[in-house]
């Protein structure tokens, strides 16, 4: 072990020209768009906060049960409850004002049922002048026009990106979904249309069943998996996207500890989304994770996040050792 350097490591990072003093980003949908709760996340240590996804029209969301802790994370189908993009603008304005003195940028989040409406929603929330706009094409709990998420194909993901880019000059982040065969291809498609950053990933579709009643646990039957069970899926997606494109990635999914954040940045993330950690660690999750990350870096003498970013991309030397034997050939 080397002696601890007296200076703290530099935890700042950048997304599309926006500087974050901490790499932890409040994930969309966590704590809604309540300005006071967004401020609470910022005070706890979030370097940026993402508002709840809003849609052109208000949505009531699904009935309960809408979120269940199943022991390996959370399964949720909130159903995007939100007051609609117009009302959202005033919430975002209030939030941005409260966040400014803290130096914490606000990320708006939008979703819609059609490509055109995505553009309109972007133009609308842009009025509140958020630092960034996240384009949620990957919510598993709402249906798009063709019955599939826009994040399902490179073509539809690109179309949404183009519509949003044409509607606003605020940098935009496209949020991708894990349940596709080749997430890198989707990433390339949205970057080709001008996406300034990528959030990877949204939840993975899943279902829980209550054995006694034989009913799905969620009122919406299926929902999205987040938390611990999502981490290896997210790490794999981030690793693949980082190898395919060069825009910054908000690595999101199952980051519960400082070590998880190290792993996510090692896989190539510019910064790290945090959501479900709050269920296990409470509202102070950000400060805990930030402290753990700081100690981890300091103990190992790292001065900045750049020094650990993308390490999973390094080539390894598999020819060093003998190859495994062919199995089964000796079986009697």
């Amino acid at each position: 072990m080397c002696a601890l350097p007296s200076t703290s490591p530099d935890l700042s990072c950048r997304i599309a020209g926006v500087r974050l003093r901490s790499p932890l980003v409040l994930a969309s949908g966590i704590w809604g768009t309540s300005p006071s709760l967004l401020v609470r996340a910022a005070r706890s240590g979030a370097g940026a906060v993402t508002a709840k996804t809003c849609t052109p029209e208000p949505r009531r969301g699904h009935r309960n049960p809408s979120a269940v802790d199943w022991g390996h994370g959370l399964l949720n189908a909130m159903g995007l409850p939100n007051p609609g993009a117009e009302e959202e603008v005033s919430l975002l304005r209030t939030a941005a004002k409260a966040l400014a003195p803290l130096g914490v940028p606000l990320i708006a989040s939008i979703s819609a049922d059609t490509v055109k409406d995505f553009g309109a929603a972007a133009a609308l929330v842009a009025q509140a002048e958020p630092s960034l706009i996240e384009v949620n094409i990957s919510c598993p709990n709402v249906q798009a026009e063709h019955g599939e998420m826009f994040a399902s194909s490179a073509r539809s993901a690109a179309a949404v990106t183009a519509a949003v880019k044409a509607s606003t000059s605020i940098p935009c982040i496209v949020k991708l979904s894990p349940n596709v065969p080749d997430i890198a291809a989707i990433a390339r498609a949205v970057v080709a249309e001008g996406a300034d950053a990528i959030t990877a990933i949204n939840t993975m579709p899943g279902m829980l069943v209550d054995a006694e009643s034989g009913m799905p646990v969620l009122a919406n039957r299926s929902g999205g998996i987040s938390g611990a069970a999502l981490k290896p899926i997210a790490l794999r997606c981030v690793h693949e996207i980082a190898a395919a494109v060069s825009v910054p990635i908000i690595g999101t999914g199952g980051v519960l500890t400082g070590t998880d954040a190290v792993e996510m940045i090692s896989a190539g993330a510019a910064c790290v989304g945090v959501g479900t950690a709050i269920v296990g660690r409470g509202a102070e999750a950000f400060s805990f994770i930030l402290e753990e990350l700081t100690v981890w870096l300091r103990e190992r003498g790292y001065a900045s996040l750049d020094q650990i970013r993308g390490r999973t991309q390094r080539p390894c030397s598999p020819s060093v050792t003998n190859r495994p034997p062919i199995p089964g050939t000796h079986v009697s």
């Binding site: 704590w31 809604g32 309540s34 969301g61 309960n64 049960p65 979120a67 802790d69 009643s213 646990v217």
Partner: protein, 251 residues
């Protein structure tokens, strides 16, 4: 050693109703055959598969009980259940009341009394003294008067229509009690307007207080923001908040 993996603490458990007691015109008490490790003031989610899931205060731990007032479609469905029927629960959620010796005044508005008899037993068990102030619109909404009397508590009653006890609001019986002094702590649960009035009274008289709030709940685990009340999450920071600090109390 079949090595069966443990289940998560917060998944649903299918409980069976073992007893159903009519408490007042619109409230039944359900005793279940399940167990939750919990303290007074915490709540659970009650689920009827295919119908809905709603939050209810834990009204007793042994047996696990809930006092359910019929106010709408879900509570109506619950009222239709009989002993032997199933109801699904998960919990406990939230921060409960703290139990300390001294003289406590428990204030319940309508079905807000639900967690307070449970709390009274905990207070008495740790050497405290209990007064209860119960308010409701009318006698048909008054909850737990007999339960508190049976526990030996002094019970002060107010109804808006004067059908039982003093005519007026529960704050009208609480005010003189607080001003008279001798109350070390106030614990309350009920409608927001009642809680806000009690908060002013407690601030005025310097009485430490724990107030249990309601809010519309979705996730129940502090992540969705649906239950925000004054910058705090009722499901997780609360439902019990202390005044004047506004911080969560209990464990």
């Amino acid at each position: 050693m079949s090595g069966a993996p443990r289940e998560a603490a917060c998944q649903h458990v299918a409980a069976r109703i073992v007893e159903k007691t009519q408490e007042n015109a619109r409230t039944v008490m359900l005793a279940l055959d399940a167990a939750l490790e919990c303290i007074p003031g915490q709540f659970a989610m009650l689920w009827l598969p295919g119908v809905d899931e709603k939050p209810f205060s834990i009204a007793g731990a042994d047996p696990l009980s809930f006092a359910i007032s019929r106010v709408g479609p879900f509570s109506e469905r619950v009222h239709a259940l009989e002993p032997g029927d199933r109801i699904w629960i998960r919990g406990p959620f939230g921060a409960g009341f703290s139990a300390a010796p001294g003289r406590a005044l428990l204030v319940g508005g309508g079905y807000g009394a639900a967690p307070l008899a449970f709390l009274a037993r905990a207070l008495l068990a740790c050497g405290g003294k209990v007064d209860a102030a119960l308010g409701a619109r009318g006698v048909g909404d008054l909850l737990f008067v007999k339960r508190f009397r049976d526990l030996g508590a002094a019970v002060h009653v107010a109804t808006e229509d004067g059908s039982a006890g003093m005519r007026g609001r529960v704050t009208d019986v609480v005010r003189p009690l607080l001003r008279a002094g001798g109350i070390d702590r106030l614990h309350a649960c009920g409608p927001e307007a009642m809680l806000d009035a009690l908060a002013s009274l407690c601030t005025e008289t310097g009485t430490p207080a724990e107030l249990s709030y309601e809010a519309y709940m979705r996730c129940g685990v502090g992540i969705c923001g649906s239950c925000e009340h004054n910058e705090r999450l009722v499901c997780r920071d609360g439902p019990v908040f202390t005044i004047p600090t506004g911080h969560a109390s209990g464990s």
